[in-house]
């Protein structure tokens, strides 16, 4: 960076333009999130400012409404189950991919990551038509399988990134000292790549927890998840309860972001050990 006293007028103008436009865009990014939170504590029915008084009634609404609670439960059940499956599948695949040098590896990688890229509606229609004959539509199993497919690429990305920084000599040293492959993985590799696996699992959970297109097409009334319930809520008539749910979800994503940041720092520290 050039020190400030060297800047010409032209540079100053550009600097001001840069800061003003960047801060404007950052405001644009945060505004909707910040605007919806106060409304959830509003006493009145209407989703407009100024607020008419403080109240927790919309939170009470959420926690006492049977369909919202069932939706929350469904989201957690489906999210946890598909996260477990996706984390196992994705971590194994990443371990294989880092060792693989065979031809077609690039294609394989593209295939494994394709659920991230293929439009959700196509994936959803595929599931819908394919699951129907096996009675998997309107079932938890169907949704868990579908969400596992959507979430596992995110695990591959997160774990692969960590493995790229992993010193394979550590595994070789352990093997050379007589550890069998399972022990090498459990005692040497897993502790070192654990932050990557954990952030992969968080990505996977977030993917399932926020997914609504597949749920729209494949789930029955029994499997309605939180985003699905929000979708109907928004489509019909936004009630203030939606703003309470939204605020809860914003708190949730903040926690998610903080955990990921902690994991990233941990991962960097771990890499620091070998450096």
């Amino acid at each position: 960076m050039r020190s400030a006293h060297n800047r010409t007028t032209e540079e100053w103008i550009w600097l001001v333009v840069l800061w003003v436009s960047a801060c404007g865009v950052l405001f644009f990014l945060m505004a909707p999130i910040l605007a919806i939170i106060p409304l959830s504590f509003n006493e009145g029915q209407f989703l407009t400012y100024p607020l008419s008084g403080f109240s927790l009634r919309w939170y009470e609404d959420f926690f006492t409404d049977e369909s919202w609670i069932r939706a929350l439960k469904n989201s957690v059940i489906i999210g946890v189950a598909s996260t477990l499956l996706a984390t196992v599948l994705g971590t194994l695949a990443s371990l294989g991919l880092i060792k693989a040098t065979f031809r077609g590896k690039g294609f394989l990688m593209a295939l494994l990551l394709s659920p991230m890229i293929v439009p959700l509606v196509i994936t959803a229609v595929g599931f819908y038509l394919f699951f129907a004959p096996y009675g998997l539509t309107a079932s938890y199993t169907g949704l868990i399988l579908a969400h596992t497919a959507l979430a596992s690429p995110f695990v591959v990305i997160a774990v692969s990134a960590t493995l790229q920084g992993f010193d394979m000599n550590l595994a070789r040293a352990a093997a050379g000292l007589g550890a069998d492959p399972v022990t090498v993985f459990r005692r040497v590799m897993l502790p070192l790549i654990a932050p990557g696996v954990a952030s992969g699992a968080l990505f996977a959970f977030a993917t399932s927890f926020d997914e609504v297109v597949v749920v729209l097409l494949v789930a029955g009334p029994e499997q309605r998840t939180l985003p699905r319930e929000m979708f109907s809520g928004i489509r019909e008539n936004i009630s203030p309860t939606i703003t309470a749910v939204a605020t809860i979800l914003i708190v949730f994503s903040t926690l998610l972001l903080v955990s990921l940041e902690v994991l990233r720092r941990r991962n960097e520290r771990m890499r620091g050990i070998r450096g």
């Binding site: 960047a22 294989g96 990688m109 038509l129």
Partner: protein
Amino acid sequence: MDDGLSLKVKLRRAERMRQWRAFGLIAPMLLFLVVIFVVPIADMLRRSVHDVDLSEVWPRTTQAIGAWTDRTQAPDEPIFAALAQDIRDSQANRTLATAARRLNYDFSGSRSLIFGTARALPEDAPSWKAAVLEANDTWASPEIWAAIDRASGPITAFFLLQALDLERDPMGNLRAAPEDESIYLDVLARTFGVSLSVTLLCLALGFPVAYLLATLPPSKANPLMILVLLPFWTSLLVRTAAWIVLLQDQGLVNGALQWMGIIEHPIRLIFNRAGVLIAMTHVLLPFMILPLYSVMKGIPPVYMRAARSLGAPPTVAFLRIYLPQTLPGIAAGTLLTFIIALGYYITPALIGGAADQMVSYFIAFYTSDTVNWGMASALGTVLLTATLILYTIYNRLIGADQVKLG
């Protein structure tokens, strides 16, 4: 020499074992995705050309129609007899609606034609052709017979052609579909247009943010980065709901514009194109900022300094030296944003009006609302083809595993 060779062989064998083991680790996920993801999508693609609805319920007619050669007029007695038999049978086992639905995709009015004919058909007739024509003289037109022929399967281009607003005339020549049925090219153009606008908006808005984040020292950049990542991690439904609240007639945006005196009365910002563009840009902006940021982060500042010290004015130095180095990031960000935008469904469905729905909406609509799976699959094929072409380009240029998630 002998030892050397055997060592070589051993090495190769060991390496092969290693590769098999590596593949073994990938196999579970690969197998899972093939069964749960690839096969269903392949099956969906098959449905866009696979058409057995009619031949399953009207086996005789769809068989016999092959003998219809003079396509300028209705066919002869045997085909009419087959039709009469099929109508009686499918009336008896309640499959008439399936036939009517399939033919209605192609020939509007088929539903009432078929049900009316079924009601009016006599028990027995000396000439079925006369009896059928007596029941409804629409059967004299070659158009309905051509529709039956097109629907007799098992392979058809009908749905794919329809997805591109094309159809075949009774003689089998391609022609543009009638005006009132030509909606899909519009939908595809709209999908493309909205995606392109959103991508360009994201680039214009994302560039300064990425630049600022990449050039600030980490102690200042990190807190600002949170402002990009928090919206990125916030549920799509939450962000969509928030935009509806903000953009409604009594919302904060209209309030602010009125307060500043820019407008006198609230302007309509939701259930139209403006709302879709605003909300989609908001949702997709992080997908532009993050790849741009990671490329800009890797650009050494020395080039800019060199250009400046050699006398280039800042604007020239930026355009000639800095901007070209950000091209990989621009390519990655625009491709990624565009690919994701193409398949967007939820945001336009909730914030857009009827004229803002993109191709995904129609795919979902045909799947669950009208159960026209052929049409859903055909539109899906078009969307998937476009996505896969772009994904391949992305893969070649950037590499699939470089998708940045924060």
